[in-house]
Symmetry: C2
Subunit: 230 residues, 2 copies
Amino acid sequence: DLVEDAIAFFVAKGLAGRRVLITAGPTFEPIDPVRGITNLSSGKMGFAIARACRQAGADVALVAGPTMLPTPREVRRVNVQTARQMADAVHAEMAAAAADVFIAVAAVADWRVANASASKLKKTEGGAPPALEFVQNPDILAGVAARPDAPYCVGFAAESEDLERNGQEKRRRKGVPLLVANIGHATFGRDDNELLLIDAEGMRRLERAPKDRLAAELVVELARRVGPAR
Amino acid sequence: DLVEDAIAFFVAKGLAGRRVLITAGPTFEPIDPVRGITNLSSGKMGFAIARACRQAGADVALVAGPTMLPTPREVRRVNVQTARQMADAVHAEMAAAAADVFIAVAAVADWRVANASASKLKKTEGGAPPALEFVQNPDILAGVAARPDAPYCVGFAAESEDLERNGQEKRRRKGVPLLVANIGHATFGRDDNELLLIDAEGMRRLERAPKDRLAAELVVELARRVGPAR
């Protein structure tokens, strides 16, 4: 705590007075009461960004999917499991007090299981596998960006290839000013990462570094664009 | 560590010299490089049993699915992701040195995705969901029980209902001397649990208690049946 206090003291308050809403971690989409579909996101990047925003003076709310990570100091955390719960929690936060910045770091499931079972699916003798039907989940980032009180929106894209093209395309499709692209299997579960920031002006690469360090660099970029509250 | 030393000193060495092999945690079955199917198992029960077996004097190997839990002291841990990796690791352990006891606590995926994608599945405009095909995973417990050098086998059953009937049926089907049944949604992710022990003599209920406590009680039951090495 002393160390965090010292860091916070020396960090420029580039987001002082700003309200920042962040999603982090994976979501978990039930198949039955015990099984579900998820992804390898650890939540580390989003939690690091929440901590860095708080250290830069922002008021931070963090909507987190299932992860065992500790809550960053002075960050308000709301735990959710599914994409729909995450969307509900995000819009409830916006309804309570409009955010200035929304950073969608969570790796949200694109699909959920339409025919989830109320009791545990049994492995049968014949070995017939479950027939799962899928339905698309709400797009949380697009939903926030489409609000009349839309904050400055930052999207994250976990790609498996062609970061530049996929990232630029995703930025256009989502209609957000800033898109942060990274390689899914080079970030999920790891303590370090590398980021590609894409905005209307072009691209900037943040070299591989610990996630805490990248989060601090991202907050500097964010403060340049949003700045402290006036 | 001092506390663990003290506990270990006072715990009866009911499994002294025994080699115990334990699986714990969920498995993760890839859908694509970032998504997969898993379950809500935290690994806490299996890790607690590994610790309790070690404290009772056993030589313990722990094959663990993805979990952020710390490794119990003086327990050898092998990390795996999928059911097939877990099966391979278990048989490799048995090949290296036959275990006296095998405790299958892991919540192993019954099915894996047959048509997993090498690159991340994209959410398309039309929103066509992925067509997943499933194939049954190897039954790790049955595989170990069928070995010529089969150890004393303990199975775990996470049921959503009718613990007694489902547990007894599972014990017969798996052909194991001891089956421990519990309710999946009343144990996964929790620090406490309740267990139903089923063997040829009948059933014994271990009342709801912290998992560390239940693990110690289970080891007493195990020591009654297996005992220290002669």
